[in-house]
């Protein structure tokens, strides 16, 4: 990949996520300029310093809880203040406890608000900017969990599956303006989000996931499974007829 072809200005929301930090590192090594948003000021500073030492310049930050929707316009204005963006990555997300979601509707609603509603709100503002500049990539981290609902995490799955459908439509719309819209579908990645799960051989490191996401953005892909081997696995899982699938304990 030639130096000119890699994105030069990138916005990352949820920049303190373990996966997003690795994407940031891939860009930092290539000297990109980064705009980072995240909700903890200390963590944001720690990530920004890391990316600066690795070669990113300049690195700007904005403290943002994505649930504070009144700040979304400000974020987008600031991210575009220095000029056009080559790419935007939305990485924030929560993995709610399914059992608690079944007991308390607020639990489920909160997860949907972070993963889905806030993301849709941000995408709406970003899409208009990208459409106007007629270039660049908008990428969102969804999940393989959004491909099929399972009893063990269908609230999380629904939030990610909803993104998948929203992104399909957005992709169709922005294609005509030369903007690429990328849905990322990681499987198990070893990050704080999955720290409570028992390990299994399908786990990928956050570094591997981050590098794969970087490549998918640069290649202007539409949908990317992270790592790639989740594509055949999910093809198999989604091909099972519902009358069989509903009997399984997954």
């Amino acid at each position: 990949m030639s130096a000119e072809r890699t994105a030069r200005r990138v916005l990352i929301v949820g920049a303190t996520s373990a996966i997003a930090m690795e994407v940031g590192r891939a860009y930092a090594e290539r000297g990109a300029s980064l705009f980072l948003a995240g909700r903890s000021p200390e963590r944001l500073d720690a990530v920004a310093a890391d990316l600066r030492v690795r070669g990113a310049a300049p690195v700007e930050t904005m403290v943002l809880d994505v649930l504070a929707r009144d700040q979304h316009a400000d974020l987008v204005d600031r991210a575009f203040a220095a000029g056009e963006l080559d790419a935007a990555l939305l990485a924030h997300g929560v993995l709610p406890d399914q059992a608690r979601c079944q007991e308390r509707p607020e639990e489920a609603v909160r997860a949907l608000e972070v993963n889905f509603t806030a993301t849709v709100a941000l995408l709406t503002l970003l899409a208009n900017r990208f459409e106007a500049q007629r270039r660049g990539t908008i990428a969102v981290i969804a999940s393989v969990a959004g491909d099929r609902g399972r009893q063990s995490n269908y609230v999380y799955g629904a939030s990610k599956g909803g993104l998948h459908v929203f992104m399909q439509g957005l992709r169709n719309r922005l294609h005509h303006s030369g903007v690429s819209v990328l849905t990322l579908k990681p499987g198990f990645v070893d990050t704080p989000m999955t720290a409570g799960m028992p390990s299994n051989p399908l786990f990928a490191s956050s570094r591997r996931a981050g590098r794969a996401i970087f490549r998918a953005i640069e290649a202007r892909r539409d949908v990317a499974y992270i790592p790639w081997f989740w594509r055949p696995i999910m093809a198999l899982i989604t091909s099972l007829p519902e009358f069989v699938f509903k009997r399984l304990r997954l």
């Binding site: 990530v47 030492v53 704080p192």
Partner: protein, 440 residues
């Protein structure tokens, strides 16, 4: 801190196998992990590249530090500040392309900065640069009381000296500042010299000051006239550019399962050693190589420790004051080669006279010898106890980072500052090693 149940954390030698009750992960330095609330004893765990039980904590809590992997600052003066879970591999990847090099490198790049400090590691340039700790300007230590102390030779000096080489027992290092040095090239001009025995080794070692890096490989199975034969490697940074920092790749080959016990036996190892020795056809050969194969010859094979089989192996590393004819080293080699034990690779080096900064630092002036032994139960342990006696009589020491079996008496003899050290140990921190050598 995030709890990770059921992810086993072992040591490199895979002996002994001791399980913690829990592994928690330190992710952010701002988040004051409530060490006081965790059921003790606590111990930091980096890459687990220590061989024995100094990075193990049976029935205790391990704090996995590898999430603390952020760089914090790197100035034109070569001062690098980073979190304690950053590996030397990650640092090399960043600093080498910019013309800088790490002050001390061990035989693998998969060690964390925290681990490098806690064992006050040494490298092939010990005779010139001293230990890793000698290049640490300061670090921040989190104690179980919740205190965070920035330790340096000027502030909290006692804790600074106890933590360098302190085997993780004084608390959790959150970040450290290290002094790097500039190099013209990351390539190394290497010279390989075959030596027929210890006296020849000592004659070559007399020339060490003229080379940045020196180390020798010895055939631990050779006996009689061939005792102490081997190959001397010495090198310095090349003056011309060879490779400027190739990206770190994972190992090209990985050992996917435990080799059957006995794959590495005296016969296969003797043959291997003989081939290595005679492969250096000429007495002396020179070449220029990339730094990675020079410093990390085994990093190309992932999990090579599994070659020793499911029972694991022990590495024995000692240092003894130098004597004219090789003294205790000769006695040790004779004892090992005559023992019938499966001794693998032997590494021999003369340490320099630089004082180590840590109370419990292992390096001291003299000759250091490291040998791998397949674990074969009591007989292996008995042989190593015997070697301990030779080392004690010679006034030397055995390296805790490689140890799984030294006695409390030996520990105290090897590390006379142990009492001062023990006063600095965090009351909530301990390790399987510490409980073994320091019965309370």
């Amino acid at each position: 801190m995030e709890a990770i149940p059921a992810r086993p954390r072992g040591s490199w030698g895979r002996y002994p196998r001791l399980r913690p009750t829990r592994v928690v992960r330190a992710m952010w330095r701002d988040e004051a992990p409530a060490l006081a609330d965790l059921p003790g004893p606590l111990l930091a765990y980096g890459c687990g590249r220590s061989y024995g039980d100094s990075c193990l904590n049976q029935d205790g809590v391990l704090i996995d530090t590898t999430g603390l992997d952020r760089l914090m600052a790197f100035g034109d003066d070569g001062l690098l500040r980073c979190e304690a879970g950053v590996t030397l591999a990650q640092l090399l990847e960043i600093v080498v392309p910019r013309g800088w090099f790490l002050p001390v490198l061990p035989g693998t790049r998969w060690v964390t900065v925290g681990g490098a400090i806690a064992n006050d590691i040494h490298g092939k340039n010990h005779h010139r640069a001293g230990t890793f700790g000698a290049h640490v300007a300061r670090f921040e230590l989190l104690r179980s009381s919740g205190e965070r102390l920035v330790c340096s030779p000027e502030t909290h000096r006692e804790l600074f000296e106890a933590t360098i080489g302190g085997l993780g027992l004084t608390g959790l290092i959150l970040w450290a500042e290290i002094r790097l040095h500039r190099v013209a090239s990351a390539g190394i001009d290497v010279e390989r010299i075959r030596f027929a025995g210890l006296n020849e080794f000592l004659a070559i070692a007399a020339d060490d000051p003229r080379h940045e890096y020196t180390v020798a490989w010895v055939d631990c199975l050779a006996r009689g006239r061939r005792l102490g034969r081997g190959i001397y490697l010495r090198g310095s940074h090349a003056s011309r550019v060879v490779t400027q920092g190739s990206p770190v790749r994972g190992p090209r080959l990985r050992i996917p399962f435990d080799a059957p016990n006995g794959l590495l036996n005296r016969v296969t190892l003797s043959a291997f050693n003989a081939v290595q020795y005679h492969r250096a056809v000429r007495k002396r050969a020179t070449s220029t190589v990339a730094y990675e194969p020079f410093f990390f010859p085994l990093d190309g094979i992932g999990e090579w420790n599994r070659l020793y089989g499911a029972r694991g192996f022990l590495q024995y590393q000692c240092v003894v004051p130098e004597e004219a004819d090789g003294g205790a080293i000769r006695a040790i080699l004779a004892r090992v080669s005559g023992s019938g034990e499966t001794a693998g690779l032997g590494v021999l080096k003369r340490f320099g006279s630089a004082a180590s900064p840590g109370l419990l630092s292992f390096p001291r002036p003299g000759l250091t010898l490291a040998i791998d032994f397949a674990f074969r139960g009591r007989r292996t342990l008995d042989l190593l106890d015997e070697l301990d006696r030779l080392v004690r009589d010679a006034g030397g020491a055995v390296y805790p980072a490689k140890d799984a079996r030294m006695s409390p008496e030996s520990f105290r003899a090897f590390f006379p500052a142990w009492r001062r050290f023990a006063n600095q140990v965090d009351p909530k921190f301990s390790s399987s090693f510490w409980r073994r050598v320091h019965e309370r």
